[in-house]
């Protein structure tokens, strides 16, 4: 299903804070229609790379292309057009706490598209139902929702404008294994139905096994390996070995 067109292409990206360099000439591609799992040790800079791509952090050097456009060269209007085509699911959901679940999903639709209130409501409800929530959550505020529901509402909001790319920052963290498996399946289903490209930062080995088409590994500021889960399991690189085949790994040796 994945084609060879790169929707995101990162070349020699360096990012740092003060004295510390977090990313050192990291290069990475995300192809159209694939789910890319992005792993690395805690504090290795996975979220930093994601946040740099979506423009929340400044880069020191390097090149970031999204949909074939260099983000350094675009003007505000073009950037808005690109931002409208990606959705971001933050680790804690980042739902607006003063809006209800339904209003959270309606928010980007209302801001970007001039639609009738009826259609906005119907589309937002459709999105909530597509992420597996029932219509009862519509009037609930984020503080009244469970962790899993918050993630689902946040995913519905990320998908509100039918984006082409979705960034997921540890989507299954804080969910129980059943909830995490359901969430993985949901991401897979939505990715197929909506033809999404997914960039998923994760620590969840199960997600990597079940939903990711390809995996990229970040270590010491660089992408040290990319490939399928089989490639990762076969690798003799010490870090990959301990990550994928360590005590908490699974698959090859039980």
């Amino acid at each position: 299903m994945a084609s060879n067109t790169a929707v995101i292409s990162v070349r020699d990206l360096s990012v740092g804070f003060g004295e510390t360099a977090v990313l050192d000439r990291a290069s990475l591609d995300v192809f159209e229609g694939e789910i890319l799992g992005f792993v690395g040790g805690s504090g290795a800079g996975k979220s930093v790379l994601m946040r740099t791509i979506i423009g929340l952090l400044p880069k020191r050097s390097g090149r970031i292309e999204v949909f074939g456009t260099d983000l350094a060269t675009v003007n505000d209007e073009e950037l808005r057009a690109i931002e409208r085509r990606w959705g971001v699911l933050f680790q804690q959901g980042a739902l607006f706490s003063s809006l209800t679940a339904l209003q959270n999903v309606q928010f980007p639709i209302r801001e970007y598209l001039k639609l009738s209130p009826r259609l906005i409501e119907e589309i937002a409800l459709a999105k909530l139902e597509m992420v597996g929530l029932n219509a009862n959550v519509r009037g609930k505020y984020p503080s009244e929702l469970s962790g899993g529901m918050v993630k689902r509402v946040a995913l519905a909001r990320a998908l509100a404008l039918d984006p082409d790319i979705v960034f997921l920052d540890e989507p299954t963290s804080g969910l129980d294994p059943i909830g995490a498996a359901e969430f993985d399946a949901l991401i897979r289903t939505l990715q197929r139905t909506l033809g999404l490209s997914v960039f998923m930062v994760t620590h969840d080995l199960d997600s990597l096994h079940t939903v990711c088409d390809r995996i990229a590994v970040l270590s010491e500021g660089r992408i040290i390996a990319t490939g399928t889960i089989e490639t990762m399991l076969a690798s003799e690189h010490p870090w990959l070995k301990s990550y994928f085949r360590g005590k908490r790994g699974r698959g090859v040796h039980h």
Partner: protein, 386 residues
């Protein structure tokens, strides 16, 4: 959808009708996507109205360039509009890639139409008044509750003085007391100066300038000094207490304390309120002195009364109880400010909006209660002749 999909946004979208012997065929063309959703909605609603008598409708999607959830939902809405009237519909020409999406939207919005019934404006107004009154009652109960809990904690602390958190107390004392000195002194200085200036200006017309000193002395020591300090403290420290406790509540820190066997009243509330009860009388004293100093300065520079005259006149105008009245009120007002701030802080729920709301209401309520309390004190002191 392609990577170069930006260009496709220019494509138009339409719904073309064809007729055959049995019914209507509707052919959807172009890009049925979010950007076109507004015009597509009109097209779909028009079609639903125009062909409402048709018994059999075919919706042909073979000529679609692109389809997303917005377009898919509108097609489904059209489909439902026809089937609701008993017509038979068929969706044909669906491409393999769009099939999943159409299947998905077929399942959604089944429970729509549960919008609240139109309500009577008068009832809504009565409802909100009723709720507000009930809320006032509830917040007074909470205040009494915390006062009770605080009293128990104070008694417990007197029995076991080691339970008082001295470090915390000193920390809060520095924040609400010591660091408030400059701003409190400056504002009360200005208030004293303004009262004196206004007094001199107006009293001069009937030659009673010298009574300005009586007025300033009594007003500042009995009322203005303590009130201005309380307003400053409520705005400065009360709001900080509410915000601190509120964000601790939001992040479950208070629950964490409780599960570790600590009493939040003892750990969080007691040091804060004790710090206020100590700081406010001290600030009141500093504030009253600064106000008198400001008044004296204005009397000298603007009213032409030398400091000697000012002090001599002041000594005649006031006596010890004048000063005591202000100082007695101060700790009680500090208690009210502290209690309200802590109650409001504990009332914060998960949202950022409620934190803002409760902080505002903490300041408004504590200033209001300070004024009410001041009224009661005025009656009490009048009754006992102070």
């Amino acid at each position: 959808m392609t990577a170069a999909g930006l260009a496709a946004q220019g494509t138009s979208a339409s719904l073309v009708a064809t007729f055959n012997g049995k019914g209507v065929g509707l052919v959807a063309t172009g890009a049925w996507i979010a950007e076109r959703a507004a015009e597509l909605e009109t097209i779909v609603d028009d079609a639903a109205a125009r062909y409402q008598t048709a018994r059999s409708i075919d919706i042909d999607l073979a000529r679609l360039d692109r389809l997303d959830t917005f377009g898919a939902w509108l097609i489904e809405r059209l489909n439902r509009a026809f089937t609701a009237r008993g017509a038979t519909t068929r969706i044909i020409g669906l491409s393999e890639s769009d099939r999943g999406l159409m299947d998905e939207v077929r399942l959604v919005n089944k429970t729509a139409g549960q919008n609240a019934a139109a309500t009577n404006d008068i009832l809504v107004a009565l409802d909100s008044i009723g709720r507000a009154v009930a809320e006032i009652g509830a917040s007074l109960v909470l205040l009494a509750h915390l006062l009770g809990a605080l009293t128990m904690t104070v008694l417990g602390t007197i029995a076991h003085p080691a339970r008082l958190r001295l470090t915390s107390l000193v920390h809060h004392l520095e924040k609400v007391g010591w660091r408030a000195v400059p701003i409190v002194a400056l504002s009360t200085f200005l208030i004293g100066a303004i009262i004196a200036q206004q007094g001199i200006f107006h009293f001069r017309t009937f030659g009673a300038e010298v009574y300005v000193i009586d007025m300033v002395g009594i007003l500042v020591l009995r009322e203005v000094g303590v009130l201005i300090v309380c307003v400053m403290v409520a705005g400065r420290s009360g709001s900080a207490y509410t915000a601190e406790l509120g964000s601790m509540k939001m992040r479950e820190e208070i629950d964490a304390l409780r599960t570790m066997g600590f009493d939040p009243v003892e750990v969080l509330v007691l040091p804060r309120i004790v710090a206020l009860v100590i700081a406010v009388p001290l600030l009141t004293f500093i504030g009253s002195m600064a106000a008198l100093y400001g008044a004296g300065l204005v009397c000298w520079l603007y009213g032409g009364m030398t400091p000697d005259i000012f002090l001599a006149r002041l000594r005649e105008a006031i006596w010890l109880p004048t000063f005591a009245v202000g100082m007695i009120k101060a700790p009680f007002m500090a208690l009210v400010i502290g209690l309200v701030a802590c109650v409001e802080g504990f009332e914060v729920d998960g949202s950022a909006a409620s934190l803002g709301l409760k902080t505002t209401s903490s300041v408004v309520k504590s200033i209001f209660l300070v004024i009410v309390l001041d009224g009661f004190f005025a009656m009490f002191f009048a009754a006992i002749g102070m």
